[in-house]
């Protein structure tokens, strides 16, 4: 009783509304997904939903294809985002603030509106919608999430590391590959976490930018649930959750390695 009073008196109590909210709308639904995934429509315990997935080459193909698209998007975001982050971190503060504004500005527009605008743009330029448009749209939507964490690590990086490398005889390219890149790995990793995971589960962008021609895993889940195949849909969601969990475990591993000083030579 006393403890409860203390809790309400402390500032911790302010987290209570959110705690209740997340239990009702996050934890319970997640548990429901697990329950649905391992039961059939009659409510009996079964693994049939999972065997159905692995027996269906179409579903597995969609799954693998989604991962492929997500990887392409992530790599694209790194390749385009890193130079942008580099330029931002090197430019004088007033100038870079304007540039960051320009990069963040599109994020104020709703993702669906932006995607619809992309469709209109492709139409206007008479470019075909399809795989190319899909990857373009994904990169366009997610690149700010890659630029910002990389910019942040580059910005905070002590300039004396770069000077020390130059002093020891490294040319500009060597300074980048041997010092700047390894030291900005934490930024790249959090960028990957913020791009790769959401891209696996998108379906709206895929639907709009490919005129429903290309199915991503998110779309498959959505279709099954729309068709009232709740148990199968829940199993697919669980598989995707498992993949996301696996990548994040891999990411934290990578994080530790970079701290411990892996051999990047």
């Amino acid at each position: 009783m006393n403890k409860l009073r203390l809790f309400f008196a402390s500032r911790k109590s302010w987290t209570l509304p959110y705690l209740i909210f997340s239990v009702v709308f996050v934890v319970i639904p997640l548990l429901l997904i697990v329950v649905y995934a391992f039961t059939d429509e009659a409510g009996n315990l079964t693994l049939a939903n999972f065997s159905k997935f692995f027996a269906h080459p179409e579903a597995v193909n969609t799954f693998v294809y989604s991962i492929g698209i997500a990887i392409l998007t992530t790599v694209g975001c790194i390749l385009l985002g890193y130079p942008a982050a580099w330029i931002l971190s090197r430019s004088s503060s007033g100038y870079s603030k304007t540039l960051i504004m320009l990069f963040i500005l599109p994020m104020w527009v709703n993702i669906l509106v932006r995607t619809l605008a992309t469709v209109a743009l492709f139409d206007f330029a008479r470019l075909p919608l399809g795989e190319g448009a899909l990857i373009f749209g994904m990169i366009y939507n997610f690149i700010p999430f890659m630029i910002y964490p990389i910019y942040d690590t580059l910005q905070k990086m002590d300039k004396s590391y770069i000077e020390a490398a130059q002093d020891l005889g490294a040319s500009s390219a060597q300074v980048f590959w041997k010092v700047v890149l390894p030291l900005s790995m934490p930024g790249i990793i959090s960028g990957v976490m913020m791009v790769f995971m959401p891209t696996i589960s998108t379906f709206a962008i895929a639907e709009l930018l490919t005129m429903n021609n290309i199915k991503l895993f998110g779309t498959t889940i959505q279709e099954n649930i729309n068709n009232s195949l709740w148990n199968y849909g829940a199993a697919l969601s669980l598989i995707m959750l498992f993949l996301i969990a696996a990548t994040s475990v891999f990411n934290t591993d990578g994080n530790d390695n970079s701290k411990r000083g892996g051999e990047p030579w």
Binding site: S160, E163, A164, Q166, G169, S171, V179, S258, G261, E263
Partner: protein, 491 residues
Amino acid sequence: MEESLPVFVFWNELKCNFATGFYFREMQSENRPIIEVKNVSKYFDDKTALDNVSLSIRKGEFVTILGPSGCGKTTLLRLIAGFQTASEGTILINGKEITQTPPHKRPVNTVFQKYALFPHLNVYDNIAFGLKLKKMPKAEMTRKVMAALKMVGMTDYEYRDVNSLSGGQQQRVAIARAIVNEPEVLLLDEPLAALDLKMRKDMQMELKEMHKTLGITFVYVTHDQEEALTLSDTIVVMSEGKIQQIGTPTDIYNEPVNAFVADFIGESNILNGTMVRDRLVNFCGKDFECVDEGFGEDVPVDVVIRPEDLYIFPASDRTKAQLQGRVQSCIFKGVHYEMVVLCDGYEFVVQDYHAFEAGMEVGLIVKPFDIHIMKKERICNTFEGRMIDENHVEFLGCEFECAHVDMSDKSKDWEHLSIEVDFDKIDLLDDSEDGILTGEVKFILYKGNHYHLTVLSDWDEDVYVDTNDVWDDGDRVGISVRPEDIRVTVK
């Protein structure tokens, strides 16, 4: 036979010279400057960090660049390392011009103030960084890294994570990382500033030892005068982007060229005095014998006396005393006591092994040899200016009211005047709004009975002020001058 002897000796010498020709050439290369800085200036936007600096460093020397923060010492080091390029002038290393050469192509290595060890590499890889870039064979590289680790006393640490090392250990690794490349010059940017006192003393000794063993040139930047005196063969004292004095530690300590150097190196009593004639100086209202000559007669000078050169004794022995006064304070400093003695309105700092309690009447003696005389750089403020009308004059970018000037003589150049204001006739005001112009206090010198301030005005010209008020470094002040204190002369 006896007459031919000198010729014989000469011949022998000549033979000897031929035989040791190689040795002599070696000797010459020892004395050849390895670094030459010629008329180098560096500007950051409109701020001058280095102002026409020239410096020559001999091979194998331990040179310390010493000065307060913001004096340009680090900028000078960074220009030599190549992290910044000089706005004007040239820098030569080993006779080769390298003013525009990028840092990775210069035969120098740097030990950074905050070590700058690569956090993603372990100790071994940090030290091997430079060698790997040179594509050195692995076996040789390992041997060199191990030798460098041994040199800094860090054997067995090669696979440690650099973040797990203490400050002193990181500093050692940083030194090893630089010397393993066998640079011709090792640049050290306040390498010991982050260490605690005991550690710093140990590292100083080790650095000196290392310098002896390696035989390469060390250029060391520090703001710690004691460190500079301990370590260096040559000290370069800098202030406000200019070199004030270059010399051996003994020279700098015993023969400071100006009040700044005297004040910065060690403790000193600096007073205004007058050179009565050769070997006789007047200060504190009394004449003192000294050893300096050539200043002229009745010339204002600065007098410097080190606290340890003043002999203090009880006042009962009146006949001996050159100065008599009362002890104001007495502080125990470990080895000695430091006392402030007030004599005829002038405060003297005195160091002695015996304590004289506050309030005691004492006598002071200083030996002629210990009185150091310095020429005054200026005896009043001199500005360039022009007349606006008969009662107004413009200088320091502002309009000042002045005593009436008869401008009827049109043949004189009223546009180019020399304006003089005495040091004690400049008023400093707390509220910078109240002054005619504003400035920032940037150097304070205590002269026994008043403060001599250097104030950088917003017009970017220094104004020198004598005052009894206490100001702090960096204070914003208003500057004003009364009309009757402005002396106008046509050039």
